[in-house]
Symmetry: D2
Subunit: 142 residues, 4 copies
């Protein structure tokens, strides 16, 4: 009931204060989400390009505990906090791995509520069945 | 008790679904915040580079109502939702202006809680007096 | 025969070395280009969205002299180095303005060769007449 | 005498024309460069953070043949085109892999001349010996 996405913080992701500003965590969340949809044949690409089903955000809540610096590795565990008829709440638990380390300290959590949307009409549509099944498999406990 | 930051959506800010993904709103919020600090002599640059006072995010809450497309203009009204001893909550009200239009439709609201931090020690510090005075002047009503 | 685009370096544009990495100059060039097309009715947006004419890059050459830091202002002078039948070469001359300064030191030059492309077929097309006229007006001397 | 870095094009990397604008190739080049320095103990992070040796760009030349869309995978082969006393020229050969495909079509080449720089003084310094040895091992033939 989870899925891990891991990669190093990149050189250009550091800000003028020498850490990573809050906006990057949204890009990282989206990367983890794209990775998560890899469980479906054709993945997120097929949803967007061929099936024209998108997941625009309607709400987002984020909490941070630890800053990220150059040299750290991001470890994101994606799960599903809630499934609705036309919506889904992704949860991203961020761990920070220090240079040379292996253990991930809890660093941030983001919850991201999306509405399933027909990208041609921009109207909301019911969750496709294969998405619903995938989300059900990855429901978080906490 | 507010401050307006306005600019067009840029070409590279559009995503594969043809709209603007949620992460860009964080960059836009930060731009509006940097603009807001223009009320202090030396602005945000002086805080970060010389005074070494930063504002890392600890919480964030966002709600979206309308998508942005290429050709739209972003209009952000920045205000202060709350001031603490070592923290401040920025509020960004996003309006969307359609191509050729002049009126801004309410499109999103982001609240962004920051902790005043010494960037050399990464420890929290009391809000500097000039920042506190600036925030007090721009407290939102709603 | 030129056009100025000016804005401050932003907080998130600084990299882990404390300066601005080379990729950002391309975003800045594109911003200056979008600004440049503001001389046409409907601007770059109308070209891309309604007329479906795009300008993908085929060659690029860049030279840097000075680094940019947080607090600096970018001043870009856009001109046209060359006009072809189905192509155009934009030239971006970057000036760096130090915090509190007014004068721009020459910091970089980028030349950017684009091919006029039908965005539906992705095939090259002759330069539209209004674009050709605009480019002719802004031919650089040097 | 080469090194491969491969990853999918991401959702937010698509522009308003539905392809990837030229600036992203610079971010991708830098990612490939960071990956390349993984051959040194501590990698690029150690160079930047502890040893304070950076590689600011002084020249760049790029040629594009094929556009990238959402669903494509980038395959970058990094090699060294030239080594100087205080400079190095990285070469990035970009291949495009179509969705579901395995073969990479030649899509772009970027050459990127950097000057070895002391990040505290911002003055140029001789190439460190371990960097020189690494570059010598990966000299390109063409």
């Amino acid at each position: 009931v989870s899925l891990i996405y891991e990669r190093p913080v990149r050189f250009e992701e550091i800000d003028a204060a020498g850490i990573v500003f809050f906006g990057r965590f949204m890009s990282w969340s989206h990367e983890a989400m794209e990775h998560f949809f890899g469980h479906l044949p054709g993945g997120y690409v097929d949803l967007i390009v061929r099936r024209r089903v998108g997941f625009p955000a309607v709400h987002l809540h984020a909490d941070w505990k630890l800053p990220f610096k150059f040299g750290d590795t991001i470890r994101i565990e994606t799960s599903i906090a809630k499934v609705g008829t036309t919506s889904v709440t992704f949860r991203y638990d961020f761990g920070r791995i220090r240079p040379g380390g292996t253990e991930a300290e809890p660093a941030a959590r983001i919850e991201h509520v999306c509405v399933t949307t027909n990208l041609d009409t921009m109207e909301k549509v019911p969750l496709p069945e294969d998405c619903r099944a995938l989300f059900a498999q990855h429901l978080s406990n906490g």
